[in-house]
């Protein structure tokens, strides 16, 4: 379909504006509450497929309970909102989350993050999330990590406030993890888990 000239020009102008806009959103832009807040749970399979793509881990390797059972297809299929008409005769996703659902979701998020961080440690040249600080971990290292996490997990930029909060968290746990490369990778894992198990990651 050909776009009318004016519409095409406007579209290009908007795209150009977005392209040159600052990568970090202003902290002052508070979102209004929705008057019709309808959201859906990103069930286990959708969640793992998304993270498989963005974490660059093959789908069948990204999360396996006891190293054997796929987290979504086997271990937590129904608990994480799936169906199993042939074996379990569960034809519809559960109406609402079970008591186990957020626990299982945390477990899956932790496994996926641990999986990615372990790969990053094993092959730093291809690291996606965990990248060692050149010296002591500083604010720049924390901001860069935050940006990578928001980009990979939530597919958006972090706001200034979100960078501040994540930096404060990372600094807070540094006393326990230490500043070594090992400690930095652990901080990466914790931050990844927090973001990957957030409400924004679980629902859409």
């Amino acid at each position: 379909m050909r776009m009318p000239g004016l519409f095409a020009a406007l579209t290009l102008a908007v795209m150009a504006a977005v392209a040159v806009a600052p990568a970090v959103v202003s902290a002052q832009e508070a979102a209004p509450a929705s008057t019709d807040p309808r959201i859906k749970f990103k069930d286990g399979e959708r969640y793992l497929r998304d993270l498989s793509e963005t974490f660059e881990i093959p789908r069948d390797e990204i999360c396996r309970e006891l190293s054997r059972y796929d987290c979504s297809n086997k271990a937590f299929r129904i608990v994480l909102g799936g169906v199993d008409p042939y074996d379990a005769r569960v034809m519809q996703p559960l109406d609402q989350a079970t008591l186990a659902s957020p626990i299982a979701f945390d477990r899956v998020a932790l496994q996926v993050c641990a999986n990615r961080v372990a790969r990053d440690r094993a092959d730093p040249a291809k690291a996606l999330l965990f990248k060692s600080a050149a010296g002591r971990p500083d604010r720049a290292w924390r901001d860069a990590l935050t940006d990578r996490l928001y980009d990979r997990i939530l597919r958006r930029d972090a706001s200034v406030a979100e960078r501040d909060r994540m930096a404060a968290f990372l600094q807070g746990v540094e006393g326990r993890t230490g500043r070594s490369a090992r400690g930095q990778s652990e901080q990466t894992l914790l931050a990844c888990f927090a973001l990957a198990s957030s409400a924004e990651a679980a629902f859409y």
């Binding site: 929705s34 006891l66 199993d84 034809m91 659902s101 957020p102 994540m166 968290f169």
Partner: protein
């Protein structure tokens, strides 16, 4: 961020506000000074009372050759009590060449003193509708299910009061009483062997941080990251999101705090379940449970029963619902299509009791035998564990074998193998030290094989009377000591132990 008070408080508060002083008293004592456990064992597909404890001998009926009266020699009267039993062996199940031996009399001999059979006539021959009515008494008490009523009364202090282990049936559908606290509704445990893994967010995850760091990350997420995110600000009023955030609070802490990933783990370390390699271990009671249910690894009913016991014994649930799956279950290693199946290879018929459409007597015999065998082993386990004061868990438990309906009574003259349809008329098996045990309430007309009712106060048989779903529901509720002020339920005194 904890958006709601703890579930324990919620349960007690809701119970107090909803059900009057009697129920509030019960809910104020977490775990219950005198706890009760309800085990709903689903006889999916119509387990027929005239093919078990109310069986009629051919010689007793003028119409015995064309009704489902059993050959005299197959109808036992074990122990001289009121219950009959069918012990039956066959080389086939209808057209399926698989020999089996079924036995009901052993169960009667062992548990006759705790058995109570109450006849009734249902209101639907639709599977789903009838299944749900069998646990709500056809909406006898504002539509709440038996399991929900038990969870509400006796579930305070338990991390998961109401657990549904069986899939694909409406015995586990939520009741229609929306006024109950969310913790009273059933929690689905769809795959009993793997489900315990979903009860801890960290243990057994390779490369997981230590517990304190993990909790720090959760606290950051719950207390800062989520509440201050645009997403939660925008969609915070969503019912789904509210529930999600609520569950992350006290319910999650209750479950993980009880170490259920260990306490409910039936499996031992094995190639299929490499627990040790993941830093996990079996329940301290697992060996005992595995010995009782040796087929737990491949037979869904045994895996459900194993977990059901642990859920009760470990103080996790006040009610569990289990039952035969509606898929065929074969012995491990059974060779299909290579010269036929060996004796006993078919453990569960396809569509469970409902395969009676194809082979009524064989299916009823095999499936009753299966249900009774699992019940017997569950009772034995519950008897072996002391709850308090010299009383076992079984002393506080009630098994209700719920089913949709009975089966049609007619058959081709003299036929041993025939199919049956659904019929509203039937009876319920309840086994418990809490009920008026050793009693057959109601009876059967040998000329029609239809059951008739009884006086709910004295138990006197009343030919021509048909007990209703609300009456059976009420009898169970009352035997469990659940107070029901204002509910308008009938007094079913004869079903209680101290009748």
């Amino acid at each position: 961020m904890n958006l709601t008070p703890s579930r324990r408080g919620l349960l007690a508060g809701a119970a107090a506000s909803l059900a009057g002083p009697g129920l509030a008293r019960a809910a104020r004592t977490p775990g219950g000074a005198d706890p009760r456990f309800l085990i709903v064992l689903c006889g999916t597909g119509g387990c027929s009372i005239v093919d078990s404890f109310l069986a009629v001998r051919e010689s007793e009926s003028a119409n015995g050759s064309t009704l489902n009266a059993w050959p005299d020699q197959l109808v036992q009267s074990p122990g001289g009590g009121p219950f009959r039993a069918i012990d039956f062996a066959s080389k086939t199940i209808g057209a399926i060449p698989v020999p089996f031996t079924a036995n009901q009399s052993d169960f009667v001999k062992r548990h006759g003193q705790d058995m109570m059979v109450a006849t009734y006539t249902g209101t639907s021959v639709n599977h789903g509708v009838a299944e749900h009515r069998s646990v709500t008494g056809n909406a006898a008490w504002r539509g709440r299910t038996l399991q929900e009523a038990v969870a509400l009364t006796y579930g305070a202090g338990k991390p998961i009061p109401n657990v549904h282990l069986v899939n694909g049936v409406s015995f586990t559908d939520r009741g229609t009483d929306d006024s109950l606290p969310s913790s009273a509704y059933g929690e689905r445990a769809p795959s009993p062997n793997l489900w315990p893994l979903s009860l801890d967010g960290r243990k057994g995850v390779p490369g997981a941080p230590d517990a304190k760091l993990f909790e720090a990350a959760r606290a950051f997420r719950n207390g800062t990251l989520d509440p201050e995110s645009d997403f939660v600000r925008t969609f915070g009023d969503s019912v789904r999101l509210k529930r999600w955030l609520e569950l992350r609070g006290a319910p999650l802490k209750d479950i993980e705090g009880a170490d259920l990933i260990t306490q409910l783990m039936v499996h031992s370390d094995s190639e299929d379940m490499p627990l040790k390699a993941s830093g996990l271990k079996s329940s301290p009671l697992a060996k005992k449970v595995r010995e009782a249910f040796p087929a737990y690894g491949f037979d869904p009913l045994e895996s459900q029963a194993a977990l059901a016991f642990l859920l009760i014994r470990c103080g996790v649930a006040s009610t569990v619902t289990l039952g035969p799956e509606t898929s065929a279950v074969f012995n491990k290693g059974a060779a299909l299509g290579r010269g036929g199946l060996s004796a006993g290879d078919m453990r569960n018929t396809p569509i469970a009791f409902d395969f009676s459409h194809q082979a009524h007597r064989e299916v009823q015999s095999l499936m009753w035998s299966r249900v009774l065998s699992v019940t017997d082993r569950l009772i034995t386990l519950l008897k072996s564990e002391e709850l308090a004061g010299g009383k076992s868990y079984w002393d506080h438990s009630l098994v209700y074998v719920a089913t949709e309906f009975g089966r049609s009574r007619n058959r081709p003259a003299g036929a041993m193998t025939f199919g049956s349809g659904h019929d509203l008329n039937n009876g319920a098996l309840i086994v418990s030290p809490l009920v008026n045990g050793g009693k057959m309430l109601g009876g059967v007309d040998p000329e029609t094989l239809m059951t008739y009712g009884f006086d709910p106060l004295s138990g006197r048989p009343e030919p021509g009377r048909h007990m209703t779903e609300p009456e059976i529901f009420s009898g169970i509720i009352q035997a469990l000591g659940i107070e029901t002020p204002g509910a308008g339920l009938p007094d079913m005194r004869v079903m209680r132990r101290k009748a």
